[in-house]
Symmetry: C2
């Protein structure tokens, strides 16, 4: 197995299990817990790589499904890999394409071999499998490669969840065999649906394959928040301490707190950039709907004391509201920069709290002021 | 009359009349000839004020018509003026709103008093006049204020052009009376349609009012290029040497050369940012249609040797093509930055050529390689 990705545990909060660590990658070492902005189609929407660097982003995501369809892995390989193609010299994590393919519903068909599907763009017939996903991700040259798994929908009955999870294990073995790149690290993904027994089994099977990191998959798919927390706890209980743990698709501070308290180190989500494009600014007291008339004459920045590009340069709510209402692209950039900074900065503070033995207080204080 | 705006003639090319100068404004002094990017709605589309500063932009435009409707002059005044509202500390020129209002066609009615029109946004009845335009532009606090005039459509008969130009003179007198701000300079606008006699008369009447600068209006409205050049020559012949001359709405290098050779110092146009959003990159050899399949595997920058943000950072045609095809906002930014840089840099080189007594050679050399 490649030694490209290693994890260094710096401090563990004994009361909760929250961890502060460092994730070492071929493109730099990054403090964890970490939030990873999503650059689906080789661009974090509305922002530049320079802006991501300025705000302290360390790892960003690329989506294999989207890049596989457009512009295609061959083109990116020809360009020198995804880092070079999109001008990003810090770390990149790519997902396996599985999540998007399974989301296609009627347009896809699952077999043991892999998934046949029709492109959401032009209906062309395509095929993804553990082997194809690994080959695509090797062409992309991401630092962290995700195993090709099935994200079990919610709700799913026990039999389905059991069969699917077993297949995910078999697929993980095939991924492991195919992924031979020395400068990339393959993460396994724990499934098991909403069944404690299956979660434990999946975690035992996947960790037996000895990956350099593990994701907890199949959560945040519509299940009640309490159930998600329970499944998260069950899953991380069987993950080794010396490897990073990644919870996919979670991007709000309240969930960060819940997941970090259950031993999660890595997060990604389109949430901050997606809601920015809908005119939402994230703040410590909740969301601010910028188009609302209450901000017409509000000449304050989005959040006082915020160090993001928009706030530290004095762009006001009134100005951003105006830009948003009249359809100016710059509004989307300012809001995206603000929201990404908000989550990255939140994670920096959260990590400081773990290091200073005050994680629980930090979480309590934050949640008292936060409105979902 | 306010002394806010002054012009310093540095060098005149005797063969052509091309001028190199410096325009002094309350927000800095800028070399001329100058290209001024357009920030219609308090934002130069897809780029930030920092990016404009980095590329060496000196003066940008704001559109009175658009800002009058949204967010309204009162709000911008309350925010501390347009500079502060949009975070731009170099110079701003605002137009009078006349051009947009006249473009509304059936939706507007002209009287001696001013123009009644319906907003293109919600149909609300509005009124603009020399006095209202001046009051709005004083509220905006632009450095250079344009007189409220009628841009005569093409074609127009002699009688219409004569009456309209005479009214533009009367309106210019009313603008002059109303514009009392000490830190803003009011430019008069020469009209006269496509008639030499009326152009001369308008130029004589408008310059008699002794403005700190003059625009040549009513050109680039659909007339043949030869006619435009002729009317431009007639108009500038009657403008004083010690004042800047501004040709409104022209934004391609071939026209810059023709107009600078006829004594023009200032230009604005939405062209570079508008075509960027349509996927066009401007280069010294003509336009590059980025979505074309010929760029799929083209891993070169938009234009070799270009110093714009996109090119100097190595963003390739293949990458920008990909972003444009999949609808990523960042493509629009990269192309806008490139096109704006292209025109600003073109103007810097053109000015150097005037200073080095080789303007005609510069123009000939450029036009030989340039494809419209």
């Amino acid at each position: 197995m490649s030694k490209a990705i290693t994890y260094e545990l710096i401090k563990k909060d004994e009361a909760t299990g929250a961890r502060a660590g460092i994730l070492h990658t071929p493109h730099g070492s990054y403090p964890t817990p970490i939030f990873m902005p999503v650059g689906t189609q080789a661009s974090v929407k509305a922002v530049s790589p320079d802006e991501l660097t300025d705000m302290g982003a360390g790892i960003i995501l690329g989506n294999t499904y989207h890049l596989f369809l457009r512009p295609g892995a061959d083109l990116i390989k020809e360009a020198g890999g995804l880092h070079k193609f999109m001008h990003w010299d810090r770390a990149i994590l790519t997902d396996s394409g599985g999540f998007q393919v399974f989301s296609l519903g009627e347009l896809r068909k699952i077999t043991e071999e892999g998934v046949t599907f029709r492109s959401h763009i032009d209906g062309a017939k395509k095929f993804l499998s553990p082997e194809v996903s690994m080959e695509v991700q090797m062409a992309l040259g991401s630092d962290i490669v995700m195993a090709f798994d099935e994200c079990i929908p919610y709700p799913a009955d026990f039999a389905y969840a059991k069969d699917s999870s077993a297949r995910t294990t078999r697929w993980a073995e095939r991924c492991r065999k195919t992924m031979t790149a020395e400068n990339q690290g393959l993460f396994g993904i724990v499934q098991g649906g909403m069944y404690r027994e299956l979660r434990e089994r999946s975690a035992r099977e996947i960790t037996a394959l000895d990956f350099p990191g593990y994701a907890v998959g199949g959560l945040s798919v519509g299940e009640p928040s309490e159930l998600m927390r329970e499944m998260l706890s069950v899953s991380t209980a069987f993950l080794p301490e010396d490897k990073p743990r990644y919870l996919m698709g979670v991007g709000t501070p309240d969930f960060f707190l819940a997941a970090v308290a259950r031993g999660i180190d890595m997060f990604d989500c389109v949430y901050p950039t997606r809601v920015a494009r809908n005119g939402l600014a994230m703040t410590a007291t909740g969301r601010l709907v910028i188009k609302n008339s209450e901000y017409t004459h509000d000449h304050r920045v989005l959040e006082e004391g915020c160090g993001c590009y928009a706030c530290r340069n004095g762009y006001t709510r009134a100005y951003i509201r105006h830009l948003f209402r009249v359809g100016e692209i710059f509004a989307l950039r300012l809001l995206s920069l603000h929201n990404l900074w908000f989550l990255l900065e939140f994670m920096r503070r959260l990590r400081e709290a773990i290091l200073a033995d005050r994680f629980s207080d930090f979480a309590t204080d934050f949640l008292q002021g936060y409105k979902k």
